[in-house]
Symmetry: C2
């Protein structure tokens, strides 16, 4: 598989994470995360969540909240190192300028890119509003 | 090499990153980061730095500032996936409660664990002050 194809596959996995988020779809979110590997997650402002139970439990709470957050991914950048891929991107509510920066780490588990770690933290200044409100798909 | 030895080697690389930070030692900081791999960095509140020139240029500015920051690492947790290791930890100024959460990613490059990505972001509430002001070295 070419480097371009690998990065495209990683970006699709990353996109699926934000789709699950935006749709409040916990079934997909659970599937986005790795099944066998150790999971960790640092939500903005929060202490470390460690392990399936803590990480997925928090996502279940977030995604079943009465007002789900339509969080979009902007300008994802991918680095691939063998079976591990690092995605950095910005996050913003639909139609608004991105206000968070994120690191998403994926592991190739049984030939699928599955998330093993997520950290998001606030930007001091929101990024300029993107030209479209669709999720980004650039690859550098 | 046992899993324990691998994690110890990763933690030493992580510790060296914080020593370089605390000592304002740019030569060591430059050596902590990978030589050949793509580098990315998300400082608290800041936009993505991408590539050797941007990432190391920012570190040179930070480390040569008149008042260097004695930043300590607390409670590092390590996940190893082949040649890539993910360290999550808290960061705090010497003698103070940790006020940041961080993701540090290391790549085994020419048999040395070298940093390829760092993100740090603020905690909403500072963590309880650690029992000692020494850098942590726990391994889970």
């Amino acid at each position: 598989m070419s480097e371009h194809d690998v990065k495209s596959a990683v970006l699709r996995a990353n996109e699926r994470f934000y789709q699950a988020f935006t749709r409040g779809d916990f079934t997909t979110m659970r599937d986005v995360w790795a099944e066998h590997a150790e999971l960790t997650c640092l939500h903005p402002g929060s202490s470390l969540l460690h392990g399936q139970r803590e990480v997925l439990g928090a996502w279940q709470q977030i995604l079943t909240a009465p007002a789900p957050v339509a969080l979009r991914c902007h300008d994802p950048q991918v680095q691939v190192h063998g079976d591990v891929a690092i995605v950095t991107c910005y996050e913003g509510n639909a139609g608004q300028a991105p206000h968070l920066a994120a690191t998403n780490i994926f592991l190739l588990e049984n030939e699928r890119w599955r998330m093993v770690h997520h950290q998001a933290g606030p930007l001091a200044q929101a990024r300029p509003a993107p030209p479209t409100t669709r999720s980004g798909s650039s690859m550098n």
